[in-house]
């Protein structure tokens, strides 16, 4: 019994320590954020890599999710004779929940892992030490542009995901299932509230963007400087960021009803 409590205490201590380091790392990013040079060039380059190069996977996934959602929704709603509410079901599910969450999971897998791998490899090949020896802070030059690009790209990609999914849902509902197009769109328009649903969706995607940015850069920066270390850090980013996104999704929904 005592041993179990000791082990639990150690684990709690370890988690607290790691959270403390993560907070200190976030504070360092914030501290260098407004320090010139602002490195817009590096920021745009990262925004391209994280955001623009994710557009295809986001659109394809969005369309697929929208189609499935519409199909499942129609099959269920038709039993109650409520198939005209399909637009509302699809729109609300996507905007409030599926859009921000699935986008965060997809971006974590595609871009978060690559951010961790890139920073980890730079560490393993002594490029970060090389920067430090040139009196250039790696947090400033390497981490800051990636973290901000991730945080900015996430809401934009989430919006793109939602639009693609609504289009996919429209195709299935209207073209394949025969619901009237005007009914689909007006049911969505009447049920989606900008302040509660759209702003809430935006809030979620911003929070998720910060979470994925922080975890992916932190894991890369603290990776063991070996190939196995970089690999472990990359895996850890995907697992930890995905779980954290899901936990925060619940917290945001429960606390603020978004």
């Amino acid at each position: 019994m005592t041993e179990s409590v000791t082990r639990l205490g150690r684990a709690a201590g370890g988690i607290s320590e790691e959270l403390g380091r993560l907070a200190a790392f976030a504070a360092r990013i914030l501290a260098v954020t407004l320090r010139p040079p602002l490195r817009f060039g590096e920021f745009w380059a990262e925004l391209f890599k994280i955001g623009v190069l994710s557009i295809l996977i986001i659109c394809v996934s969005g369309v697929a999710v929208g189609m499935v959602l519409s199909l499942q929704g129609y099959t269920t709603l038709v039993r109650f004779g409520a198939e005209n509410s399909l637009g509302a079901v699809v729109g609300l599910s996507l905007i409030r929940e599926l859009g921000p969450v699935l986008t965060a999971l997809l971006v974590t897998g595609r871009a978060g892992s690559s951010v961790t791998a890139e920073i980890g490899t730079m560490k393993a090949t002594e490029q970060l030490d090389g920067l430090r020896m040139m009196a250039i802070d790696p947090i400033d030059y390497v981490v800051r542009p990636k973290a901000w690009a991730m945080a900015v790209a996430m809401p934009l990609l989430s919006g793109l995901f939602i639009i693609s999914a609504i289009a996919g849902g429209y195709f299935v509902g209207v073209q394949l299932m025969g619901i009237d197009g005007g009914t689909y769109m007006s049911s969505m328009e009447n049920s989606v509230d900008f302040e509660n649903d759209v702003a809430g969706s935006l809030l979620k995607s911003v929070v998720f963007g910060i979470i994925v940015a922080l975890i992916s850069t932190y894991r890369g920066h603290t990776a063991e400087p070996t190939s196995a270390g970089v690999s472990a850090a990359t895996t850890s980013t995907v697992v930890l960021a995905s779980v954290t996104v899901l936990v925060f999704d619940y917290i945001l929904t429960a606390l603020w009803g978004v």
Partner: protein, 283 residues
């Protein structure tokens, strides 16, 4: 190109370590190490694998922290300095890493121009001139647009050396400049280091395994032995009374069974936990 013109920190470009302790986790690497590296000289640090040679360079550059002791770099004790304070010291240092550590997303030109763009107010044309001066100093031209992955091993070392020189440091740290190079490239790098040292009077601290080059280029050798260190000029060490010193220095040129056996004895000694205890002993 004169050394220290780019803003070297401190008055005297000299490095000394006093009673330095350093461990990786529970494994002690340096125990009370004391040695010094004179200004304007080429000092070569020799020792077996895992003896802490590269660790000494990282400690001098403040990349890792000593658990105890004092490390004076150009008149400042770097132990205990904050990272922001270390950046001031590092502007007077250049470091050539074992594998180059070139930024792989940048061309050769940008790798060299990068520290100048960050720390100086030079115009682009002045930066271009300075970069080409540094590349010429290591015997390279027409490599501006190449990426690090397009360079041979020897060229990577030379570009890394050029990048270390471009800020005109007063102290140059060089980690294993000859590893993985063919004999011709080895001699080329060796000649470059000597020429740069003689031309600019730069303090050089070189970590190496290559005994023949060391004996030719070094003004001073610091040999890390399992339980002590030995410092002196190459000629002094060659005629040292300490049999371990002579064994170490002949290891590279003699591959007889006897030497291999001695090497094995040396390795066993290396694994003893109480290495580098106390201060250096002159031969």
């Amino acid at each position: 190109m004169s050394p220290a013109a780019g803003g070297a920190a401190g008055p005297t470009p000299q490095v000394s370590l006093t009673g330095v302790h350093m461990s990786y986790g529970r494994r002690p690497v340096l125990r009370g190490l004391s040695c010094c590296f004179p200004a304007g000289a080429i000092s070569v640090v020799l020792g077996g694998s895992g003896s802490g040679k590269s660790t000494i360079l990282k400690l001098i550059g403040g990349l890792i922290k000593a658990s105890a002791g004092r490390i004076d770099v150009a008149g400042r004790n770097v132990v205990g300095l904050r990272e922001s304070e270390l950046y001031v010291v590092r502007r007077g240092l250049g470091m050539m890493f074992q594998n180059g550590a070139l930024l792989d997303s940048m061309s050769v030109f940008d790798n060299l121009a990068f520290p100048l763009r960050e720390h100086s107010r030079l115009s682009e044309s002045e930066i271009r001139t300075r970069v080409h001066e540094s590349l010429a100093a290591v015997g390279l031209d027409d490599v501006d647009e190449l990426l690090p992955r397009e360079l041979s091993g020897g060229m990577v070392k030379r570009v890394a050396l050029a990048r270390a020189l471009v800020g005109r440091p007063s102290i140059l740290l060089v980690d294993e400049p000859f590893s993985g190079l063919d004999p011709l490239s080895t001699k080329l790098i060796e000649a470059l280091l000597v020429r740069i040292n003689r031309q600019f009077g730069m303090t050089m601290i070189v970590v190496s395994h290559h005994i023949p080059s060391t004996m030719r280029m070094a003004d001073r050798i610091v040999l890390l032995l399992p339980d002590s260190i030995v410092e002196g000029a190459p000629a002094e060490l060659r005629t040292s009374d300490d049999v371990r010193v002579r064994h170490f220095l002949t290891e590279e040129t003699d591959d007889s069974d006897a030497v291999l056996a001695k090497a094995s004895e040396f390795e066993q000694g290396e694994r003893r936990p109480d290495r580098h205890r106390g201060t250096g002993a002159n031969p």
